[in-house]
Symmetry: C2
Amino acid sequence: MLWFIVDAHAQQDQAKVLKSIYDEVLLRGQCYPMLDYLCNQIGGRLSGSPEAEKAVQYMYGRMQKYGFDTVYLQPVMVPKWVRGKKETAKIVKAATEFEVNICALGGSVATPESGLTAEVIEVRSINELKLLGEAKVKGKIIFFNRPMDPTLIQTGAAYGGAGDQRVNGPAEAAKLGAVGVVVRSLTLANDEHPHTGMTRYLDDVTKIPACAISTKDADLLNKVLSLKSAAPVKFFFKMSCASYPDVLSYNVVGEIRGTQLPNEVIIAGGHLDSWDNGQGAHDDGAGCVQSVEALRLIKTLGLRPKRTLRVVLFMNEENGLRGGLKYAESAGEEQQSGIKHIAAIESDAGGFTPRAFGVDDSASAVYLKKWENIFQPYGIEQIRRGGGGADIGPLKKYGTILIGYIPDSQRYFDYHHTSIDTFDKVNKRELELGAAAIASLLWLMSEEGVQ
Amino acid sequence: MLWFIVDAHAQQDQAKVLKSIYDEVLLRGQCYPMLDYLCNQIGGRLSGSPEAEKAVQYMYGRMQKYGFDTVYLQPVMVPKWVRGKKETAKIVKAATEFEVNICALGGSVATPESGLTAEVIEVRSINELKLLGEAKVKGKIIFFNRPMDPTLIQTGAAYGGAGDQRVNGPAEAAKLGAVGVVVRSLTLANDEHPHTGMTRYLDDVTKIPACAISTKDADLLNKVLSLKSAAPVKFFFKMSCASYPDVLSYNVVGEIRGTQLPNEVIIAGGHLDSWDNGQGAHDDGAGCVQSVEALRLIKTLGLRPKRTLRVVLFMNEENGLRGGLKYAESAGEEQQSGIKHIAAIESDAGGFTPRAFGVDDSASAVYLKKWENIFQPYGIEQIRRGGGGADIGPLKKYGTILIGYIPDSQRYFDYHHTSIDTFDKVNKRELELGAAAIASLLWLMSEEGVQ
């Protein structure tokens, strides 16, 4: 009974801390102007680009200005891929031509300088492609046109269910002698914006040029292909993208040292790189500024965490994950010196209104669930099993509890990897509420551990 | 134990019905194109305007096309107020002038044709105004500048906390001899858009012209007023708005008759009128098309509700509530014939991502809460005490359970009553998920009652 009373008091005290964190961000938040700068002054930040380096320096400067105990750059070699000139494409049937909107998939090779034309064949899956076999695929452009499933409520699940076409489709098509690949953009929106994203070539398979086509134009191509007439349907596209040798870049790290258990580290982070075609506002400028803001909130409120809190801005999530791997490598080295990463929060699902935290470990999910009631007034309605994230994933081998910050997912894939992932799509309060949620969970875990 | 098993089976069956409703709306939803028409083909629909009448005819036609059992127009006399020419305004201090963005408050009288100029005084509340007293207020323009409280997580609460300035401020200022009123726009955004909305004159008090000023310009006016220099700060504004005699309009009603308890009626609705300056997309085109879609979903899936389901599109919520009052009057007459309104759902908080239902009756809130678990996968995470709505409010006297559909509130007041409350601000899936949530709750209540 005494235990219960103490616990209720502790919860009440923590509820007051949360209130102070939320008040601070809603009254004097810094993350929205920080994102404004990242998007409107710097812009798209593809690994190895001048913009990515500007972003590294800018965020390093922010953390220094906020007076974190330690701020440093962690060197990491990253791939460099450049899109080149704006891509062009058209559907050709007999004398009729339709211009369509495409963009090169990340990592794609270029077409010949004058472009590439070939007959196009539509498939809905890699399996369907394999059933066609080499005889029918050889010399053709393969059009992967399986839409994301709109009936899945969490749009991330719909993305996961269609993503293999983009990631593995080009390599699989090349195995059967295809000369190019067009992939339906991974979005639930029906519009004119092509969505880029990484494709994965295989070392021993010819690299063929691969692009994404907007969903409206994918529907058009599908329609043209369904017309009954003898003339074959051809697809033309021209891309000048190219890969270059790896270049030096950095993860950006800042920390507030723990007062009682400094060797227990809890991190929050997002990825600082983005695709080049937009501003990387939701993906993942939002996660970066939220993570930095989370530590700033704790610092500025004079909260002294028991455990060490660290923000990590990962480089190269989009096309290599080198930053995540490098950081995990250094975490392994720290582990040798008795410094343990007990938990990691990743924010890489957009700057939308908060909904939940997902915890990848059952026992910890149960332990953290006790805080649901103090989060609920702030729109975090669930602390549940699930979650994690690409950049923090490699920490799993050190026993780190991986936690995903989960904002509402409905609008995310409208903007993801497109030219319209821009600052104006982010709502100030939604962004701020996310930063406060991350700060609050960091604080609670620093006070009471993770299990 | 047997009871438990039966109940679990029933829940499982209902979960299947919900899945079919959500699949239908996400695959073949009609509400998004319906809203497109309402916004882009018709536009703002202020009571008594030609647009409001077009909207009545259009929605009536939609319901007929969807084959509801009964569709009818319910006549109601509504006030007619017309904004007139675009308003102009400026801050004047000595030789310096700043043009600012204003709009007339709904119901306001016009300024003199050549405009109105007077010294302006800032207050933060009606109480502060009263403390100034007649000597200081007489002949002045009163500037109400208390912002909405950003630390309130539910933006509706922040709106409620600042709204008295707009609703009662002009009448209170007039009592003390003020000649005009400027109200800070009711929004948490800091931008250039003025937000209109109703103001309430008193019969025995002079009607003085009243406008809303954008938050950016409110800050500017505040700044100019704080400058230390002898010249008084004057405000000039020119508005040509006017009220006209009441005109005939309609609520639009459609129903699917219950198979077992047809005399128990459950309604869902929103208001068809909107302010004139935007398209009334979130406020409340969204609620209208969601309510119609809810019945269409039930109809098209061949579901046969035990109780009667009715959609009511109320006219004149914004500046009179005549439609809500008229409908309640007819519900009272129905009650005389043994037809009882057991529950009413109102959707008038925007077409944003679903979060909750609020139930105004404690016992029913507990009863409906049992469905939380089947709603949770669809983003409705709470069925809780609270809610209701302006148009369904007058039904309370008949013992009707009042339920508010509660979408996420963060973005709502960015658009509310402005020129940017337009179709493009509504996300297709978020709108559809709301329609399915309303259809699902209508269905469950029609099957299992409300207490």
